[in-house]
């Protein structure tokens, strides 16, 4: 080539490259711009509900205790999270509530609420709010001046939200929420004989022969239901385990049908491949719905849905692996005069085994996540607990508990599958 041509050709090549290097980011930016508009990302800032976000975050690591007065009969009920299973027995309560004819709630930082026929809330830096609920309304009186933002008042209802808690009064009831840190009643509920015991006292009980009683109380904790949660986790794991290995067992023989080098019959191969595509394409989600008519809610339905989808996936992967086997090993075995079956046994099988195992184990972890989702759709396992807890939009500490458990479970499966992969694939020196 003439040098001058070479020079100009190269310069031209570089300006072409320059254009491509700029074009790719430009296309990506253009696509994001389109997404930005079509998904209305700009409007997101209006839609985002900061209060909800705050509630969610604070609820996930704190709990609230409700103190409620029935304005008709003056009775007081104190409960954790306002749930019946978290109720304090009559006449008892946390130390910031002084029970008596007139119940006084001390929210701390000077916020005092007094119950009774006249309910009052002394708000430091603002003043005293009083209310006398009756059939006509709550008859609230506020200090002079405009109502501040933290008070939301109407004739029949007043709500005051401060940093230390929340106060609501209607004609029927008056209620205070106080937020405290932690997951209250995580170990024992209020009606349990072990509630409020320190670790040392508990240990003493455990060693004085009450171990199983203590465990039983914890396991059947009505608020957190550790036993049920454990079973739900177990069901999720079961779906992943049965689905993954079931699929591997079904897919292996089918994969030979779909591999070019093992099945010379083109039509059969085509049929096997389309079957795999179908199983995968329908997706676990739809299989779950289809199967739930026949089998109803529960872990078996989930397992079968995973099994069907993954038969498609494994069938495809295994047949590809079969087509990629290294001929050198087969040739080496063949050169000794080995029979065809022996060639498969020693030339193909040892090569396939690690690939199969490794793919199956990869999917074990991924299917733990799928099982969570499938459970959420049909009903079963931790996925159901989670979506239901989210749907009620108030039990965020339980949501957090479930999320943590799910993450730990998936990470444990990831570690386990990694460990098994190393152990089974690298470790079996004989390859027998």
């Amino acid at each position: 080539m003439i040098t001058a041509t070479l020079h100009s050709a190269t310069v031209a090549q570089f300006s072409r490259k320059k254009r491509i290097t700029f074009a790719v980011p430009l296309v990506i930016i253009a696509y994001f711009a389109y997404i930005f508009v079509s998904f209305d990302v700009a409007g997101l800032s209006e839609r985002i509900n900061v209060d909800n976000a705050r509630t969610l975050v604070s609820d996930s690591y704190s709990y609230k205790t409700h103190v409620a007065q029935d304005n008709r009969d003056g009775s007081i009920a104190i409960s954790v999270e306002g749930e019946r299973k978290g109720e304090y027995p009559q006449g008892t309560g946390p130390d910031w509530v002084s029970l008596g004819d007139i119940t006084v709630v001390d929210l701390g930082e000077g916020h005092i609420i007094t119950f009774g026929p006249q309910v009052s809330y002394d708000i430091p830096g603002y003043g005293l709010v009083t209310a006398r609920p009756d059939g006509t309304g709550v008859n609230a009186e506020f200090p002079d001046g405009d109502l501040p933002d933290f008070i939301n008042a109407s004739a029949n209802r007043v709500m005051i939200t401060t940093d230390v808690g929340r106060f609501t009064i209607t004609r029927a009831r008056a209620e205070v929420f106080k937020y405290s840190l932690g997951w209250e009643l995580f170990f024992f509920t209020l009606d349990s004989p072990y509630y409020g015991l320190g670790p040392a006292e508990l240990a003493a009980k455990v060693f004085s022969g009450k171990a199983s009683a203590v465990w039983q109380e914890f396991w059947t904790n009505k608020m957190w239901r550790h036993g049920d949660v454990f079973w739900a986790l177990f069901e999720t794991l079961l779906m992943a385990f049965l689905g993954t290995f079931g699929a591997a067992i079904v897919a292996l023989p089918l994969a030979f049908l779909a591999a070019r080098n093992f099945n010379p019959l083109g039509s059969l191969r085509f049929a096997a491949r389309r079957l795999f595509d179908f199983l995968r394409g329908v997706d676990g989600l739809i299989w779950t719905i289809v199967l739930s008519r026949a089998f109803g809610p529960g872990p078996l339905t989930g397992s079968l849905a995973i099994l069907l989808t993954d038969t498609g996936t494994f069938g495809k992967l295994f047949s590809e692996a079969l087509e990629n086997v290294d001929d050198k090993q087969i040739e080496g075995v063949a050169s000794t005069g080995a029979k065809p079956v022996q060639r498969y046994r020693f030339g193909v099988f040892p090569q396939m085994m690690p690939v199969l195992l490794s793919q199956v184990l990869y999917y074990l972890e991924s299917n733990t996540r799928s099982a969570t989702i499938i459970g959420a759709i049909t009903g079963g396992g931790i996925g159901l607990l989670l979506t239901q807890a989210i749907a009620t939009q108030k039990d965020w500490e339980e949501v957090t508990y479930y999320i943590v458990l799910i993450i730990l479970l998936v990470m444990a499966m990831d570690t386990l599958s990694g460990w098994l992969r190393r152990k089974l694939i690298k470790g079996d020196e004989g390859g027998h």
Binding site: R47, N49, N52, K64, G82, K85, N152, A153, S154, N156, R157, V158, M159, R166, T168, T170, R171, A172, R173, F177, K222, R225, D228, V229, S292, R293, A294, F295, G296, P297, G298, A376, I377, T378, G379, L384, L385, T387, Q388, A389, A391, T392, Q393, K394, D395, E398
Partner: protein, 282 residues
């Protein structure tokens, strides 16, 4: 029908944690188990459709469900289930209302104000959250519920709780949910999805107002699968029929709120619902 069953399965729905539902229905489960002498189990599918499919496929034997969900089963297979009992309110009435509501600060005070705005349904199989409003509202506004016809957009939020949160957040401008319509507005009435949301501190009734209310909807039926042996059907019917007297707490738990008990009912009470459902189908 002389065959025997080896297991009895109850499907439960409602606006609570799956675990809470299991818990509140435990009394019913153990009572039935004792009476039938076979293992009795509770199942909490994720949505109305889960129970519908269970009843159709024969994997669920008994459920307390919304009228529209019952109609869904009936439309798919007339012979699958029969309504046996209906929930009776404390004042002796049966039935409930679908109620439309919106945030006060959104400037929506009536259905007219909703024109061009976003309207939220709950679950497609809900009576109060979809079926009844989708029949009654078009008559009032003289337009269909299709996107852009009268409302700017009509969407399903997935359930009563989600509708309430969506309205409160402003994701939809108005939505529909259910209520018994008794007691005070500011408390969210005595019974219904609004009350639950108020009690848990999710919403402040001062912020929202009612924009529409349906005619009375027939009460929620307890349905039983027809393929069950007659003695099983009789035993279970008897237990729930008398639950209000024998175990009022359990009746309350099963119903998900204060009730006086359960009274017998037949399919006839739901013919209008079935008709409405057929009208909404293709």
């Amino acid at each position: 029908d002389g065959h025997v069953i080896d297991e009895f399965r109850i499907g439960i729905l409602g606006g609570e944690n799956a675990q809470d539902r299991m818990n509140s229905n435990e009394c019913l489960r153990s009572t039935i188990e004792d009476a039938l002498g076979v293992p009795t189990r509770l199942f909490a599918p994720a949505d109305y459709n889960g129970v519908i499919q269970g009843l159709l496929g024969g994997t669920i034997d008994l459920s307390l469900m919304g009228p529209s969900s019952y109609a869904a089963v009936y439309v798919a297979d007339e012979t699958a289930v029969t309504p046996i009992l209906v929930k009776v309110n404390v004042d002796g009435s049966t039935g409930y209302y679908s109620v439309g509501f919106a945030r006060i600060d959104s400037g929506v005070a009536s259905l007219e104000d909703m024109q061009g705005k976003v309207f939220g349904f709950g679950d497609p199989n809900s009576t109060s959250g979809y079926l009844i409003p989708s029949v009654e509202i078009p008559d009032l506004i003289g337009a269909s519920m299709d996107n852009g016809d009268y409302f700017g957009e009509v969407k399903f939020t997935g359930g009563h709780e989600q509708t309430i949160v969506a309205v409160n957040n402003g994701d939809v401008d108005g939505g529909v949910t259910w209520t018994d319509g008794q007691g005070n507005w500011e408390d969210g009435y005595t019974f219904g999805a609004l009350r639950k949301a108020v009690d848990s501190g999710l919403i402040d009734m001062n912020d929202i107002q009612e924009i529409w209310r349906s005619k009375l909807i027939p009460g929620e039926p307890v349905v039983l699968r027809n393929a069950l042996p007659d003695d099983v059907r009789a035993t279970v019917t008897e237990i729930i029929d008398t639950l209000g007297e024998t175990d009022p707490e359990c009746a309350t738990a099963l119903a998900g709120g204060e009730v006086s008990g359960f009274d017998p009912i037949t399919h006839d009470a739901y013919t209008s619902i079935v008709a409405a459902r057929l009208a909404q189908s293709n």
